[in-house]
């Protein structure tokens, strides 16, 4: 029973981080109709920056200070996004999708090596926070408290995002642009500004995902590509461009992955792809996608 509970918490932990990554990806696609192959690298970037700030720069500082430093990775990813969109992506909106994919794929290669260049080939950790949170006992099992915080942040981010998109003026503009970019432009929406804002917000979410997970798992090379593949599975299941879909997809993938690790550790990834393929064969546009 307790083991089952641990599995459920683990699934939710995983789902929270996945939602942050996939939600950002889906948001960007929903508004801009562009798929950023390098999205996972922004998550990795967030993880590296936080690990660097917490684990290296402020190592030994009191825990509250370290916690304050946690969002640094998310901010850094947001700034990077705000620079990338106008410089690298904007020239490609009018060109065939192949070119957009190629450019973001090139960006993926650049960011991957750039992080290796800056932080070296070895894992970077910020485990001080993780350790300081200690653990609690659930039944007879000892479980790290920090993981519950991650789930909390994931849930908070989801509700904040929902409120932001459905309850604010900016959300209205965002949704209008995603429905019909030309019409929104004709009605006086500054589409360029909306695009850079949406892209920055999406990158912020990815960076936040990296920042909150890095105390419990080190930042390593290659985490970006793993993340982007999983995030795509999430959005493929949920429907590209739908935030609700990203949430449901993240939860499904979280549970499937946990079950996969528990019962089929060898082919855990294959189980995930199988789940995604099953959803796709049944509903090609995903559970919440517009067909």
């Amino acid at each position: 029973m307790d083991v089952l509970l641990i599995h459920i918490i683990n699934s939710l932990l995983y789902a929270s981080v996945l939602f942050l990554i996939a939600g950002g990806l889906s948001l960007i696609y929903g508004v801009m109709r562009i798929v950023n192959m390098a999205h996972g690298n922004l998550y990795a970037f967030g993880a590296y920056v936080t690990a660097w700030a917490v684990g290296t720069m402020a190592a030994g500082a009191p825990v509250p200070v370290l916690l304050m430093l946690l969002p640094v990775g998310a901010l850094a990813a947001a700034i990077l996004g705000a620079i990338l969109e106008p410089t690298l992506l904007r020239p490609f909106y009018r060109r065939a999708e192949e070119y957009q994919l190629l450019v973001t794929f090139g960006l993926l290669m650049i960011l991957e090596d750039l992080m290796r260049f800056i932080w070296g080939p070895y894992p970077l950790s910020a485990s001080e926070i993780f350790e300081n949170f200690g653990s609690l006992t659930i039944g007879d099992v000892i479980y790290p408290t920090y993981n519950l915080l991650v789930i909390g942040v994931g849930a908070a981010a989801a509700s904040f995002l929902w409120a932001f998109i459905y309850r604010t003026r900016f959300g209205v503009v965002l949704r209008a642009t995603s429905q019909n970019m030309r019409m929104a432009a004709a009605l006086g929406v500054n589409v360029n500004r909306v695009y850079v804002q949406a892209f920055t917000l999406g990158c912020f979410m990815a960076g936040l995902g990296g920042a909150i997970i890095v105390p419990s798992q080190s930042a390593v090379l290659g985490m970006g590509i793993d993340a982007v593949v999983l995030a795509f599975i999430v959005v493929v299941i949920g429907g590209l461009g739908s935030l609700e879909g990203a949430l449901v997809g993240a939860v499904i993938v979280g549970f499937v992955r946990e079950a996969g690790i528990a019962w089929f550790p060898e082919i855990e990834l294959a189980v995930l792809y199988l789940a995604a393929a099953t959803v796709l064969l049944a509903r090609p546009a995903g559970l919440f996608g517009r067909p």
Partner: protein, 336 residues
């Protein structure tokens, strides 16, 4: 516009004979390479020709069918591992059997992957192919008792032409002469075969699907089937390249299944120009030299690739071959 569309499908007797006119001197040039350059140079070129076969296969999807695969490393890897597993479990040493095994292996894998992937286009296709290749990569890691894990599997020098030529003597001599010619012959056969395919009614149907999926369906082309066959042919070409690559390298590791290798295939094709038939071939050979020399200078090879890719797409989207054709056309126009 693009070379394949300009040459393709038009009932001009000249199109294929003109291609022969270009191909014949290049073939002759490639044939004398081992006689005039040092063995290392010939082996390097053999690597380039092998990659060219893989890129040619890749571009049947990108250039002709309009599908961008980020997972072709999988089929290259299937070809390579088919050979390595035949050595390990069946003690086979004949290159012809290796090729047969690689074809069978890649047909099976691409047939299954294809069923899932061809229902999707654009980014969905790209991600599905990427995801499936990463699955194979992780399997190659985890089932180490079969695949040798990160250590990989060794492949000894094979015998060629049903045992007529064996690699008994010096390995460098064998690779730079006998094996070089073996690769060259297969390269020629693959280029010729691909040329026929893209100029066949089937090849026209693929281009129709690329240009306009809905209309293709409404002239009676069953798009999933055609995409699936294209996927199969593309994967088998790349698998064949993998099989030819293993003896050259002497070893196969999971690295060749990793997405970064798919990225290299994408890169060489875009470098050469995916809108022209010869683009991927030129791109693969140029890339091979570029990589060999650049890797010696920097460990941040991926970074260099990324920057060049972005610059290429920004400023030279037609690649080397497309740009050269444009220059040539301008040159011809400027003369009376």
């Amino acid at each position: 516009m693009s070379a394949p569309t300009r040459v393709l499908g038009q009932p001009r007797a000249g199109s294929s004979s003109r291609a022969l006119l270009v191909a014949a001197p290049i073939a002759a040039l490639l044939a004398v390479v081992p006689l005039v350059v040092p063995p290392y140079g010939a082996i390097l070129l053999a690597y380039g020709l092998v990659m060219a076969i893989g890129a040619l296969g890749f571009n049947l999807l990108l250039g002709y069918t309009g599908l961008l695969s980020f997972g072709h490393s999988a089929y290259f890897g299937v070809g390579a591992y088919s050979v390595a597993l035949m050595v390990k479990y069946l003690r086979v040493g004949s290159m012809e059997l290796f090729l047969l095994g690689a074809i069978v292996g890649s047909v099976i894998v691409t047939a299954v992957f294809g069923i899932v992937c061809v229902r999707y286009t654009r980014i969905f296709f790209g991600i599905l192919t990427l995801a499936l290749s990463q699955v194979l990569w992780s399997l190659a890691f985890k089932f180490f008792w079969v695949t040798g894990g990160t250590d990989g599997l060794r492949v000894p020098t094979p015998s060629l032409f049903g045992g007529l030529v064996t690699g008994a003597g010096d390995k460098t001599v064998f690779m730079s002469h006998a094996y070089y010619y073996y690769v060259l012959i297969l390269f020629g056969a693959c280029v010729a075969l691909m040329w026929v395919i893209v100029n066949s009614p089937f090849g026209m149907a693929l281009q129709a699907i690329r240009d306009n999926e809905t209309r293709a369906e409404f002239v009676g082309v069953r798009i999933w089937r055609y995409r699936w066959v294209a996927f199969l042919v593309s994967g088998v070409f790349t698998g064949l390249a993998g099989a030819l690559w293993v003896p050259l390298n002497g070893l196969t590791t999971p690295d060749i299944m990793h997405w970064t290798f798919s990225g290299e295939l994408v890169f060489m094709t875009v470098l050469g120009g995916f809108r022209s038939f010869a683009g991927p071939v030129v791109g693969a050979i140029v890339f091979n030299y570029l990589k060999t020399y650049a890797v010696g200078y920097t460990v941040y090879w991926q970074l260099v690739l990324g920057v060049v890719l972005v610059t290429l797409v920004l400023s030279l989207p037609t690649g080397i071959v497309g740009s050269a054709e444009k220059l040539l056309a301008r040159f011809q126009r400027s003369r009376p």
